[in-house]
């Protein structure tokens, strides 16, 4: 079952823990048995038949499939079961009855489009400013300093090749050569979530927003992307699925809200997302921006 904010009866378990203040669980987490997939400083990813659940440090914020827990609990066990409202990590049971459930859905646009467009322009300027040099925005559209850093011979050969390939792919996408471009971009980048896949996830989110806010029909394009860029990596699969469903993290919701608010909020929201991972956040935002501003990428 999918978690909702509806109250559930507590399950009496010996030694049951009450979640700490600020504890939050995403609304796309389903009951099931999960085993450890990967563990990092601030996150532990568990995989099961229902999909992926991430136990994360509160500093990462809420997401559709995240549960905020401190490091001791995140590292307590290599397996986990969720039978709402009970979360069991090894021999530790946590009562989820009263937790805050994060609503990951994207809100419909309530303002006139004219009010949003100037903020998209602000987003366009903020992204290269806050993106790390070694990231898609840093490479294809950053300042001259960004570009010189990413293209220097001392920058890793693999990374230079990877970002050059992604930049070529993005230019093809801008020319509407979707399949060719996606083949270059998908899975391109060294780490757990390759930069190219982060870009695609951001683009899919952008296409959902374009449909919801601007009444654009992007279903064909979304279909081509899903078909051309499949991934066997469960974390990427989860990213793509949530993007297509229009489910986003707390920080992305804040950014979307800021696109209808004042300039300062856009800048701060972009800055916060750009701080995610080595380049994941910035690459994701590059994909999102690509939906609305292909010239930005094509002209570099």
């Amino acid at each position: 079952m999918v978690l909702t904010a509806t109250a559930h009866p507590s399950v009496p378990v010996a030694g049951l823990m009450t979640p700490p203040c600020g504890f939050c669980a995403g609304d796309r987490i389903a009951d099931g048995f999960y085993h450890l997939h990967s563990r990092f400083d601030r996150a532990a990813n568990f995989i099961g038949v229902p999909g992926l659940v991430c136990l994360v440090d509160a500093s990462l914020g809420a997401g559709p499939n995240t549960i905020t827990l401190d490091a001791a609990l995140r590292n307590a066990s290599d397996s986990m079961s969720i039978r709402f409202p009970l979360l069991t990590l090894g021999d530790i049971a946590i009562d989820l009855s009263d937790v805050d459930i994060f609503d990951s859905g994207i809100e419909p646009l309530t303002q006139a489009i004219d009010q949003v467009l100037p903020n998209i322009d602000r987003f366009r300027h903020a992204l290269p400013e806050h993106a790390p040099p070694i990231s898609i925005p840093g490479f294809v559209s950053g300042t001259s300093r960004h570009r010189s850093v990413a293209r220097r011979p001392s920058c890793e050969t693999f990374l230079s090749s990877a970002f050059t390939r992604i930049a070529s792919g993005i230019r093809m996408l801008a020319d509407d050569r979707l399949v060719e471009g996606l083949k270059l971009i998908a899975g391109c980048g060294p780490g757990l979530t390759p930069s190219g896949d982060d870009f695609i996830a951001g683009w899919l989110t952008g296409l959902h927003v374009a449909t919801l806010w601007f009444d654009r029909d992007e279903s064909d394009r979304i279909g081509v992307i899903r078909q051309t860029a499949p991934s066997a990596n469960p974390i990427v699969q989860s990213q793509f699925r949530f993007a297509v469903e229009g489910r986003v993290t707390e920080s992305m919701k804040t950014l979307l809200a800021s696109l209808t608010a004042d300039e300062g909020m856009v800048d701060r929201s972009v800055q916060r997302i750009c701080g995610r991972g080595a380049s994941s956040g910035a690459d994701y935002l590059a994909g999102f921006l690509f939906t609305f501003d292909q010239e930005f990428f094509a002209c570099h």
Partner: protein, 526 residues
Amino acid sequence: MPLIHSIKRGVYFDSVSLMRAAQMLSGLPGVSDASLVMGTRSNRDILALSGLDADDFNAAGDSDLLIAIRFESPASESDLLEQVERALTRRQEAGAQDSGIKPSSLEGAVRVLPGANLALISVAGRYAGDLARDALEQGLHVMLFSDNVPVETEIELKRLGRDRGLLVMGPDCGTAIINGTPLGFANAVARGGIGIVAAAGTGLQEVSCLISHHGEGISQAIGTGGRDLSGAVGGIMFIESIRALDADPDTRVILLVSKPPHPDVRRAIGDLVSTIRKPVVTLLLGSAEAGQPMTLEEAALAAVERLRMVQHSLQGKDLDSRSRGNDTVSVGGEVSVDIEAANALESSVATALAGRLSAGRRYIRGLFSGGTFCAEAQIILNRSLKGLFSNAPTAGSSELDNPLHSRGHTIVDLGDDTFTVGRLHPMIDFTLRKKRILDEAADPETAVILLDVVLGYGSNPDPAGELSEVIREAVSKTAVICSVTGTDSDPQCRRRVVEALKKAGAHVLPSNASACRVAGRIACSI
């Protein structure tokens, strides 16, 4: 060249871990290229284009880690794979052990440690300004380790700090010692009566260590960041720091270290210094002012001398300041440095080394991790040599066309952006320097390889272990001269490092200035 290739099924690492491991491998002797990437089709294509592909990589999937290492002997396959394993495991263990209290905001940190009165900020420059402003508004002094902070932000922060009576050390401030606590790259020096204000990190380290070697100590050492003395910033924090040391009862002598400031700033500092009753020693590295110290070593010794004068004066004894008659720096009746003996030592080392060099070897190649040492080397060498080149030219040197290749006498600052993108600072990561030492030794025109080795917190934990092998190889062709900045109380222990470097064949001099003088003597004698 042979290729090691390996697939680790279902193993996940973030891109930073993989990049670091690949960089570490690429820096190993005998390794020409290395990549660690997830096995997606795109990544396999890129490996193929780089000549790092292998047939069995075609069977890898998106969830598999690919390891490809191009190497030549003497590296062995099992050793390299073991190194990969160790690099990746270390990163995982570091993450697993990191389960203590870890505040995620400045407010959280202040709540966890309510008595704290200083924030050390080391985040990307674009975020550092906001964080520093928050810290100042919460009443915290700031040490801003970050660089790439806009000058407008620096001015705003420093004005705010001045108005609130708080120090803003930096941006780009690498070293400070506050109330005996070393911050950033600093050394375990003795505490004592000399307060230092410095715009240069390694300069501050050198003078504080030399003072410690000569039996005195540091009350406070305040870094300001190099841009503080520009006309735009106006020396705001340099001036505030001098005032702070003037008011500090534990500071008896004030030592100022910087490159020559903007003329207006210099005038403002001079005006302030003229009102201070404590002795002030000023080193403006690169300005040839009569009666002022010219090198970090001279500045440190002058401060020691002035302190001992103050101490003897307080004890009511007669002063016996510098006695030039016997070329000895004599302080309060105690001999601190015998200049004649130092000259004799430098001369004998230079003569012995010059005699061993084969014909054609005539140039100095300085490979510095400290920017101030690089500048000091040029200042000293340009007095006796002509035609110096550097990637950070000063004192009449010419700019190198290509910092990766030496020409003539070349002094390189390896901390320059050209060398540090995607790598740790050369005081921590010796990979490039080791390669360059071997390259320079192989150049038939190289007579002397001149090095600085900087110890202390934050620096490479085993510099002698890292450098010994390449020094041993280099000294079969050329002379290797170095200085070691640090103390025996540093984590690396200076004495042990010096012994190991000497054992490898390097000639270790007591200061960077001394090492440069010896290098200069050799070059002049050829």
